[in-house]
């Protein structure tokens, strides 16, 4: 059997040690990690993709597997890659200990990004908490493409609402909803969305994470014929598609199929995603 030797193409995904530029709290719950990154890496990054971070073993924390984090910001002009994260367990606790000058081993960019179809002009993103980190780069992309974006940001209280300034700076209309004043209820969110549909109209939805939001957007999407995409999470080992630990079920025409969140996702068609 003769083999055709393939010339190895430039990697699509890099395993690299990057320098930490800063790692500061942005509010009571979230931190912003800024890494210095080379241009060939940054130019490959798209909204919705993620990196698999090798959290350091320090301060008594000994995470083993990598931890997935969405790209929060890509700034080729400054050579910066940003992540916004919430400290929840061993890996993110270790991540929070990084200081300027430390190194961090990253693997990425990984996964399928969000897409914005040419005929979609009025985009609406709805997310809550750290989910906003995943959707933030979409605002950058929308501005680059000259699309009109409305960002519906929800949080427990006003002081932990995130990314509002970022969305405003990107030219998005921002609607904030909080648990504190009751405006984040599903009923109110539905009313807000219906007002947008009946008003300027919505061409596509983008969301992530929450079951409640998924069900609501599936319902409105079906009723009004609005397509949408959702970024989903699942525990990961390899992050590359090799181990099949990160599967979730999806409703396809041929029936229910398991897809890998790290490879076929993390961005999926909102109607194919299944509530959990």
């Amino acid at each position: 059997m003769s083999h055709i030797h393939q010339i190895a193409p430039a990697p699509k995904t890099y395993e690299l040690e990057l320098d930490v530029l800063s790692n500061e709290p942005v509010n009571r719950e979230y931190r912003l990690l800024v890494l210095r990154a080379p241009p060939e890496l940054l130019e490959k990054c798209r909204a919705g993709q993620f990196f698999h971070l090798l959290c350091p073993q320090m301060g008594g924390q000994a995470p083993y597997l990598r931890r997935p984090m969405s790209i929060y910001g890509v700034y080729p002009e400054h050579g910066e890659l940003h992540f916004l994260y919430k400290v929840t367990g061993e890996g993110t606790r270790a991540l929070a200990m990084l200081r300027a000058g430390h190194g961090l081993n990253v693997l990425g960019p990984l996964g399928e990004p969000f897409s914005i179809e040419p005929e979609w002009d009025r985009l609406v993103l709805a997310a809550r908490g750290v989910g906003l980190a995943t959707l933030a780069p979409l605002a950058l992309e929308a501005r680059r493409l000259g699309k009109q974006l409305t960002a519906i940001c929800s949080a427990r209280s006003e002081d932990v609402l995130m990314s509002v300034d970022l969305f405003r700076n990107m030219g998005a209309d921002v609607i904030t909803l909080t648990d504190e004043d009751g405006s984040s209820s599903v009923e109110n969110l539905e009313a807000v969305l219906i007002a947008l549909i009946d008003g300027p109209g919505i061409d596509a939805f983008y969301t992530c994470g929450s079951n409640r939001l998924l069900k609501l957007l599936q319902k409105l999407g079906t009723r009004h014929g609005i397509p949408g995409q959702i970024a989903l999470e699942q525990q990961m080992a390899c992050g590359l598609g090799m181990c099949h630990c990160c599967v979730r079920p999806f409703q396809k025409e041929e029936g229910i199929v398991n897809l890998r969140v790290c490879r076929e996702g993390p961005v999926f068609d909102i109607q194919e995603a299944m509530a959990w």
Partner: protein, 314 residues
């Protein structure tokens, strides 16, 4: 220039470093040139479609991991049409890992994957045998001999038997595989384990139990590789917890002719490439001209006669 090439029962590998089944796929080509590896070893497939186990399918335990992925499989047809052709673009030998619920189904699949483009077959006899109360074929010498005999008749390709650490009869199982015609032994698969979340009191894996892999498995796999190398005359391929060149060299000294790297690739996707580079440097520093000079050089003295075949803690 140090020589890294090794011979596994007639199959020449340009270096002794290859991936472990289930921790490697075409997807790794996104990160580096897969032709750098000594061999390509695919995820175990079954003949028919299989969905795999419920999530969560992995968890970490003290610097190692458990997995209960199961064997999700798109079946042999998909594999022959899509996976085998992908690897034909590479010079590196392709080793296909297979499994079956019964010895006959296993053998049938073995014949079906014996096609051009496949250079060896790794038989995952660490999987449950439904005809023997679900115990893995490779737990007992008798069921190992029986399934290996059928597999041997089903193919002319080199046949590698992958053993399980969930046996108390490592040497006997290794000899049974050799007697039934195995060309090489892959030592070993994961060890059955468990972890419980003390807050929710639920097992951390959806399947309740799973296989331990990573650094904590290494001493066990190393002990088995040593026993197998002593108990048989066929090449042993070490596998279990190998993350660095030091780990790989330890297996080679114990008697392994090549090694597989699994979980370490999840932590550092370029781990195998690093180990290959470091192996050249290591051999050079040791003043050796070929990796073959280090294989089986363990200084076990007179003790080995008494201890090697023991399956009890000293």
């Amino acid at each position: 220039m140090v020589r890294l090439d090794v011979d596994i029962a007639g199959l020449r590998l340009k270096n002794p470093i290859m991936p472990a089944s289930g921790t490697f796929s075409e997807d790794l080509a996104d990160v580096f040139d897969l032709d750098l590896l000594g061999a390509h070893v695919t995820k175990t497939i079954t003949r028919g479609f299989r969905g795999g186990n419920p999530t969560p399918r992995v968890c970490e335990v003290g610097g190692s991991m458990l997995n209960s992925i199961g064997i999700p499989s798109k079946g042999v047809g998909y594999f022959l049409e899509n996976v085998v052709p992908f690897y034909q673009a590479y010079e590196t030998p392709l080793v296909v890992s297979i499994s079956g619920n019964t010895a006959d189904e296993f053998a049938q699949l073995c014949a079906e994957v014996s096609v051009p483009g496949v250079d060896a077959i790794e038989v995952n006899i660490s999987c449950p045998n439904i005809e023997e109360d679900g115990k893995a074929f490779a737990i007992r010498p008798s069921s190992t001999f029986e399934v290996m005999t059928k597999l041997r008749r089903a193919t002319a390709l080199p046949l590698w038997a992958k053993l399980t650490p969930n046996t108390g009869e490592t040497s006997e199982v290794a000899r049974a595989a050799e007697e039934a015609g195995a060309d090489a032994l892959v030592v070993a698969n994961t060890i059955l384990s468990m972890a419980i979340d003390i807050r929710t009191r639920k097992p951390k894996l959806g399947n309740l139990m799973g296989g331990l892999s990573g650094p904590s498995l290494k001493p066990i796999a190393l002990r088995m590789a040593y026993q197998c190398a002593r108990a048989t005359k066929i090449p042993v391929i070490g596998c279990g917890g190998i993350s660095t060149v030091e780990d790989a060299v330890e297996f080679l000294i114990a008697g392994a002719s090549a090694v597989q790297v699994g979980t370490a690739t999840f932590i550092n996707p370029t781990a195998m490439v690093t180990i290959i580079d470091d192996l050249s440097h290591y051999l050079e520093a040791e003043g050796l001209s070929s990796v073959r000079e280090i294989i089986g050089t363990v200084e076990d003295g007179e003790q080995r006669e008494g201890v090697v075949f023991m399956e009890a803690a000293p």
